[in-house]
Symmetry: C2
Subunit: 236 residues, 2 copies
Amino acid sequence: MKPDHIALVIAMNSEAAPLIKTLALEKKADLFPAPLPFELYQGEAAGKRISVIVSGLDREHGVNNVGTQSATLMTYLIIAHLHPDLVINAGTAGGIGEKGCQIGDIYLSESPFCYHDRRIPLPRFDQYGIGSYPSIDTTEMAASLGFKTGRISTGDSLDMTDRDLEMIRSNRAIIKEMEAAAVAWVCRMMDIPMFAVKVITDLIDRQTSTEAQFTANLQLAVNNLRRSILQVIDYL
Amino acid sequence: MKPDHIALVIAMNSEAAPLIKTLALEKKADLFPAPLPFELYQGEAAGKRISVIVSGLDREHGVNNVGTQSATLMTYLIIAHLHPDLVINAGTAGGIGEKGCQIGDIYLSESPFCYHDRRIPLPRFDQYGIGSYPSIDTTEMAASLGFKTGRISTGDSLDMTDRDLEMIRSNRAIIKEMEAAAVAWVCRMMDIPMFAVKVITDLIDRQTSTEAQFTANLQLAVNNLRRSILQVIDYL
């Protein structure tokens, strides 16, 4: 595909800031109803229109609105108001070390996006809960750019229970994060092609906690994320 | 408060159908962008405008779009398009038997609404993950209508892990369901007052699985839900 207008859905300001700076994207006010915390940045790159939506700050706790509820609403808003040709969910993620993930690795999504924390043991609701939403085929792009590809599983926790890990394995995912399936769900409903770019901050099958690894490796991951998104925009 | 326009956010068609029939609400097409599965019904009751949004069917699995992502988007859409004075999230729920919940009980929400499956062990993100969004004070309404009140905890699974139960207890919630905190989050952002009406289908501290109890008691709960919503609309 040759998209004219690419929308990026990014949960954390720290993940988006280097990209916004490099592309000199301009902050737009007043596109979304006033009380919403989400931030919109727009500009051009490689001959394409680029719109970035970032989750902004929770007014009570002063942290970014990470997770699936916020990702759902951001994705809906950017599609409904701006009609992009393509949505990319970009961010940091955990990876399974025994499946070859390494800190700093850049992954493009393989279909399907699944959830690992929506267990609904009723007929057909079980599969609805797991999700299974399509990614565009990123095989050639990944090969061309020297990135890896992998299946992504989404849940609303940064940490992980044994049951979560069971579900991640049963989803045959190697990457764990907190937004992609929600972005993919909205894109599927709205018939907009999408994929995800995720950079590994932590190995979920290590002894060290996700929180400690996440904090230690965030800067490296954010740098790689900026670089990889620029390469992806150039490629498309 | 004396609302002129009440919006009800209801996840399952089976939960909404008796109410829609009793109030002879009319199905409205074309309010939301075409590919969205949500259904809107409107009419009048007790001198008030009533709008009901129901999640509709997932196109792949043919089941209602239950859970927080769908509840987020439904709540946003009904507020942004219809500007109600009050949002009510109505549905079925699990309750803690040792805290006095019984099958068929009607509960109105106590503040705050919390999540039990968003564990983010980083400073301030931990509290963001748990949530804590306000309900309007339902004490007098509950006393007047003979309903109970209780704190509600939300998660995207029908079943429950030990970790979920720990979080529910730590949230001091006695009711467990799958949408309320997401509805409350959007209402808080959009500055719209809200509360929830939940009818107990299953006791989460019983040996029998939630799924088996849910299936056995759904009809009773749905009847009580219809009756309780009508009483609430009359009261307001």
